[in-house]
Symmetry: C2
Subunit: 345 residues, 2 copies
């Protein structure tokens, strides 16, 4: 059995999406056991709309809900909120293996660090979405927003975290790691990139292949792309925006003439296949890597399907043994050089 | 007459693309006068393949060619190269109004600053491509790679340069300016973004609307997006990569069945319309803003069409009076706060 705690009240479509998504996930994966945190009456009412296996669902009543605009730092004290109470239970209940929420990113990062806590040796957790790539697989991009300002040692740890996620979550045997930069030559980028490049080149346990550019994330010649949270966020949102733009343009073009509307009838399957391959939500949000247990931050606008994917992803990394693998690789990878550099600069 | 100097040897497809592109541009715009720099025999041989107005073309023989891999800093001394000689002529010949090259970006930036020189008061030039957006127009994104590390005063100047380009090159009356950030809230981002936000908010002569995210570049609610050269480059290349990815997926999906192939026959026009709207090269490369005369850096892989677009864009900003407008707005915009901040931090 895999016990996953789901913040039923997180996100714009809560508790509808969280409940419907969890039910869908539990139907696909019979090992799942779902614990909701949230306003019990609301969650129960939503749950009644579905047929579900009552033996595998549980609701913990939490009267408070953290909203998207609430200050993340002060929201951590609201232990009766669905999100922070979920973190509490995740920390204290050994049987609960992971948390899924569509709540405020800032609150998730703060709660994850202050309540659940980081894996020993991890400086800062990193948000890591899986971006669909042109090989038909995924490129893991981290950090995507948890840390706007980074030091070389943090980026080097992200390389370790991403490598482990690629192995434990996606079954990649020897994931290739690239450093997001403004050119592929060795000397490219600012001081942060140049120093990180040097340290990554000598690190054990990861397969660092060098600098990569923004376009390489979707082209997918590497499996893990390491970035500071600022530029990782810019890259992710630029790609998401571009994907939406393309689908909008296509929609307009199809509607522009009768002939193209007829063509669409023939091409519907192909175009839906395209839309599916471009779906940034297919793996269900971003994993917040580096915490003592897996935490998945699903989009604020998550639909039931997104939540279901996030829960499946959480179960997947639990089965893959993500956290012990992070501990092991952190010990193996010789990060002394990185730590040393940071202390003296 | 508008005299434009074209580095015939720059780019992967030189001199074929430069020559064919210049001929095409000159046929569309009868006011154009083209001066090529390059290996005369090669350029002439290429030119003979076209019918062109001999009275409006000139070739200056330059035996040397700067290659993509040559060190930019040392290449500036190679004054017999097609690129650096073009900069020399642009600086000394008052009649020559602009330069177009598909040569190495690094060499163009160094040559532009050391030979041609910056407009008085401009700290650093910025590379500014025009990104197609979902309104059917363009969003100007700067800097996209000339300056990996930036200070607040530089970003504030980019806001001025972008505003002027939007007016002089695209006829926008009151361009909206956004600051590329990892969220839209006022306090978002690192120290650089937070300081820049404060100064931009009080600046005269520009219409600063606040922080924007990566997705807003293609969505196009703003006209000018200001970024440091590192994250601007990441954003641009992430979008380009995503655009290519989409077209590749679409191609594969069309080929996947007979029915979708039939559908394609009906939808060809619509899909070509989409491809055209996604074309990042339609405005012809990036303008290197802040120099004493307009310099356009066309893609290294420019096709004749790209070069023709770059030349048309150069003529356009000359007619729009780009450089005097930059001088005027720089004086108007109160940059004292920005300069002051930079000096004391």
């Amino acid at each position: 059995m895999i016990k996953i705690i789901v913040d039923a009240m997180g996100g714009d479509n809560a508790p509808y999406s969280s409940v419907a998504g969890a039910v869908a996930a539990s139907q696909k994966d019979k090992e799942l056991y779902i614990i909701f945190t949230g306003r019990k009456a609301e969650v129960e009412a939503e749950l009644q709309k579905h047929s579900y296996d009552k033996a595998r669902f549980e609701i913990i009543d939490c009267p408070d809900v953290i909203e998207m605009n609430d200050n993340p730092a002060s929201s951590v004290r609201r232990r009766q909120s669905s999100l922070m109470h979920a973190f509490e239970l995740l920390k204290t209940d050994e049987e609960i293996q992971a948390l899924v929420t569509a709540g405020s990113t800032g609150a998730v990062i703060v709660g994850g660090q202050l309540i659940l806590g980081r894996i020993k040796g991890v400086r800062r957790p990193a948000l890591c979405p899986a971006v669909p790539n042109s090989r038909g697989g995924y490129t893991l991009l981290l950090d995507c927003g948890a840390n706007a300002e980074c030091r070389p040692a943090m980026l080097c740890q992200f390389a370790v975290l991403g490598t482990v996620y690629a192995k434990a979550g996606f079954g990649m045997e020897n994931p290739k790691v690239g450093l997001l930069n403004n050119g592929t030559e060795d000397h490219k980028g600012d001081t942060l990139r140049q120093e990180t490049y040097k340290i990554l080149s000598g690190m054990k346990g990861i397969d660092f292949v060098g600098n990569v550019e923004g376009r390489d994330i979707v082209l997918g010649d590497v499996d893990v792309v390491v970035a500071d949270g600022f530029s990782g966020n810019i890259a992710l949102k630029s790609m998401e925006g571009c994907g939406k733009f393309v689908l909008n343009v296509l929609k307009k073009q199809i509607k522009s003439s009768l002939i193209s509307k007829i063509g669409y009838l023939f091409m519907r399957k192909a175009l839906n296949g395209m839309r599916e391959q471009l779906d940034f939500d297919k793996t269900g949000g971003a994993l917040l890597l580096g915490l003592k247990k897996p935490v998945i931050k699903s989009h604020g606008s998550s639909k039931p399907e997104t939540i279901a994917n996030s829960i499946a992803n959480a179960a997947n990394v639990c089965r893959g043994g993500l956290v012990p693998a992070v501990e092991k690789l952190l010990a193996e990878a010789d990060l002394a050089a990185a730590e040393n550099f940071d202390e003296h600069n």
